[in-house]
């Protein structure tokens, strides 16, 4: 079992859920990855199965309505899923780390919102960041105001990534001098939804813009306290980064596995191309990258469970994952030669999906500068 060696202390429940995730991903999902990518849609029956496995709220404490597993179990499941289909793993991440976790942590009086998303009966998306997806709270200009016992939302969010038919959005906005969060239903009056846009990769989720024109919400749709959600936003970003790093690990493992298989089967110059040192070096990238990032992910996951500040570790894991996943996918595509360019082989999809890891959540340069900020004297 590929996952278990990481969890010597796995209990019976954890073992069971990870086994069923593995069976689903390796047995079923992997065969559907290509059609999910081509159709730019995760088929409803796949979404149902993901929900039935209990993955959407897997790491949320039981008292908050989740399955109560630790972060390591969540990330092990994500890696396994990303290995089969990176975009499905991203879907889970957007539901869990991007929506359910922050709502569970911040608290929301309208409990039906959480329940619907946790069971997969409603799809959700996070509309936090503005500009090009950077996640500096200072860059948020959408505003929330309390008026006549209602919350009023104004502003624009670009590149909101999530299911094309998301019915709830977790929106972060400026309220007075602070940041607040609210959950906005997709059918709210005053919400203008942009069309979901096609993308290079990760095609099971879409990007779209949201515009709020004096959108009114009941007070019960507030998440956390008025003006005090900046910490929640930062915490959410941290968790999303670790999750993206996990997706990077899954992509690298998938690249490693298919690349190694292909290099063994394909012959040129009367020998398997795996005999050529240049091919071995290319295959090694994926193995090095997945091992390095995997360990960072599990350190970060353990830290989260222990309540440590893992923001810096999350940035480092995400940066390394972004760089290595792209390099690994590139190297493995090259191993496939001309066949790497064909959509009938998996390498080109990994190449497209891998590009997302580095650019998500504000991009490489911004993350590196944030890493540096933490090591510079105050």
């Amino acid at each position: 079992m590929s996952l278990h060696y990481l969890f010597p202390a796995l209990n019976e429940d954890q073992r069971m859920i990870l086994d069923s995730v593995e069976v689903f991903c390796a047995g079923e999902l992997i065969g559907r990855a290509e059609s999910i990518d081509h159709a730019a849609e995760i088929a409803p029956e796949v979404l149902e199965q993901i929900a039935e496995l209990g993955l959407l709220a897997i790491c949320i404490p039981e008292e908050q309505g989740g399955a109560g597993f630790d972060q390591a179990s969540y990330h092990a499941a994500l890696i396994e899923m990303a290995r089969a289909s990176a975009t499905c793993a991203l879907h889970v991440v957007l539901q869990c780390s991007g929506f359910l976790e922050p709502i569970a942590r911040g608290g929301c009086a309208e409990t039906s919102v959480f329940e619907a998303a946790a069971t997969g009966t409603a799809m959700a998306a996070l509309a936090a960041f503005e500009g090009e997806g950077g996640f500096d709270a200072a860059a948020i200009s959408a505003t929330l105001t309390e008026r006549d016992g209602k919350l009023v939302l104004d502003g624009v969010k670009e590149n909101v990534v999530g299911p094309a038919d998301a019915s709830e959005f977790l929106v972060f906005a400026r309220e007075g001098a602070g940041i607040s969060a609210v959950v906005v239903p997709a059918d709210a009056a005053g919400l203008v939804l942009g069309a979901p846009l096609d993308r290079l990769g990760m095609r099971g989720v879409a990007a779209r813009s949201l515009r709020f024109d004096g959108l009114e919400l009941p007070m019960s749709r507030r998440v956390g306290l008025a003006g005090e959600a900046a910490g929640l936003l930062e915490e959410t970003a941290t968790r999303l980064m670790i999750a993206l790093a996990s997706i990077g690990v899954g992509i690298m493992q998938a690249a490693r596995d298919c690349g190694a298989r292909y290099a063994t089967e394909r012959q040129q110059f009367r020998r398997p191309i795996a005999d050529f040192e240049a091919m071995r070096e290319r295959l090694a990238t994926a193995e090095i990258g997945q091992a390095a990032v995997l360990n960072l992910v599990f350190s970060a996951a353990r830290g989260l469970d222990e309540g440590a500040d893992v923001a810096q570790l999350a940035r480092i894991a995400k940066t390394l994952a972004g760089e290595f996943a792209m390099k690994a996918a590139d190297d493995v595509l090259q191993v496939y030669g001309g066949y790497g360019y064909s959509q009938e082989y998996p390498a080109e999809r990994l190449y497209r999906d891998a590009r997302y890891v580095a650019l998500a959540l504000g991009g490489d340069a911004a993350t590196r500068c944030a890493i540096a900020a933490r090591i510079l004297p105050e």
């Binding site: 290079l200 012959q267 497209r352 340069a365």
Partner: protein, 390 residues
């Protein structure tokens, strides 16, 4: 040695740039989306002589040399990689060999229509089992009276199902002891002949306006006069053509990389990240500076190889170096630009993602990156041995 285009080449560049801007670029996104072959454009570039860049004007070519060809094709590649490869394959692997290796009779029969683009060309070297090891041909050509009968399977043939003329490589020395590289011949083939059938168009990461097909040759009858060059010396022709073709693919990378850089320059001005204008970020400025430097360095390598080829001087290593460096840097640049533009760069509404998809082919065809390194390394040791001898 002044590293600058002369007035004639500058004028040519201006003409190509204007043509690419008005005729080629506006269609590129649609061509990619609809997988639409640039048939209409081929007629237009044919009329300008750009399908016979090395062919004398008396034949209808433009005779602009390898540098002129590089100058024109960079502009096309920057606008649309699919249009570029259709032209590049036609020039380097059809017009040029007809001019360079074909008998007067074959030239008379094919060149006039090839140069105008009325008859498009294809190059049938690769087979399912003969990719990087291109000499390992399984396709055979056997004498039958005055004719040849050709049987075999070809893979990945650019423009294959849209071409009227093909250069087919096949084993003619069937002695198993014969060295692969000395057992192959090249033939000029009418692609509408009986015995040729096409597989489906390969679905690809990019380059979707160019068609790529498998071709099966079954008892394909080719007249004896259609042998190109000498018997059993076809592999030398294949390699010589690829030396020219590699400069063409280097130029493809340079054009695509330049387009990505220009897109980034056009776009960052309007983008903000974390409340800051991207164009004013040093991270962004330095990345752009690096990209521009690499694009220029690649172009200098490619021009050097082109000029050596124009003067019939040795250029095998130089052509491989140009392709190796240009195609690798171009892919890096495209990936960086998508990353730099963030979620918008990743979206299909931006050209960045198409450039990244199109560009990836450059490190694969006309010799993979590994094959270029093999060629260069071999030449390095040969040069060293020659020096020691001297």
């Amino acid at each position: 040695m002044l590293f600058q285009l002369d007035d004639a080449l500058l004028a040519l560049q201006q003409e190509a740039r204007e043509f690419a801007r008005t005729e080629v670029a506006p269609q590129a996104a649609r061509r990619d989306r609809e997988k639409e072959f640039p048939a209409d454009l081929m007629t237009q570039v044919g009329a300008r002589g750009w399908l016979g860049c090395l062919v004398p004007r008396s034949w209808g070519g433009s005779d602009i040399g390898n540098i002129g060809q590089a100058v024109v094709l960079e502009e096309i590649a920057a606008a649309c990689a699919s249009t570029h490869v259709t032209m590049s394959v036609h020039n380097s692997l059809m017009s040029t060999p007809l001019k360079k290796y074909a008998s007067a009779e074959l030239q008379q029969e094919f060149l006039p229509k090839v140069v105008t683009g009325e008859w498009l060309g294809a190059y049938l070297l690769t087979e399912p089992g003969a990719g990087s090891d291109a000499a390992a041909q399984k396709t055979t050509a056997v004498r039958d009276g005055d004719d040849w009968l050709i049987n075999g399977e070809k893979m990945w043939i650019t423009t294959g199902d849209m071409a009227r003329v093909g250069i087919v490589f096949a084993r003619t020395d069937l002695d198993p002891a014969a060295r692969d590289a000395k057992a192959v011949s090249a033939f000029v083939v009418d692609m509408q002949s009986p015995g040729i059938s096409f597989g489906k168009r390969e679905p690809k990461l990019g380059l979707r306006g160019s068609t790529t097909v498998a071709i099966s040759l079954k008892d394909l009858r080719v007249p004896g006069k259609n042998l190109l060059g000498e018997l059993h010396r076809g592999f030398n022709i294949a390699m010589d053509l690829l030396n020219g073709g590699r400069i063409g693919i280097a130029i493809q990378g340079i054009g695509i990389g330049r387009a990505a850089l220009e897109l980034a320059l056009d776009t960052v001005g309007g983008l903000k990240r974390n409340g800051k204008d991207l164009a004013r970020s040093q991270s962004v400025q330095f990345r752009l500076a690096d990209m521009a430097t690499r694009v220029d360095a690649a172009r200098l390598l490619a021009y050097r190889a082109a000029e050596l080829r124009d003067h019939d001087l040795p250029h095998i290593k130089e052509a491989s170096m140009a392709k190796l460096f240009a195609t690798r840097m171009a892919n890096e640049v495209c990936r960086e630009v998508v990353e730099l533009l963030g979620e918008s760069g990743y979206g299909a509404a931006s050209a960045a993602e198409r450039l990244m998809r199109d560009c990836r082919i450059c490190e694969l065809y006309e010799g993979t990156t590994e094959i270029q390194k093999l060629v260069i390394a071999k030449q390095l040791f040969a040069d060293r041995a020659a020096e020691e001898k001297a």
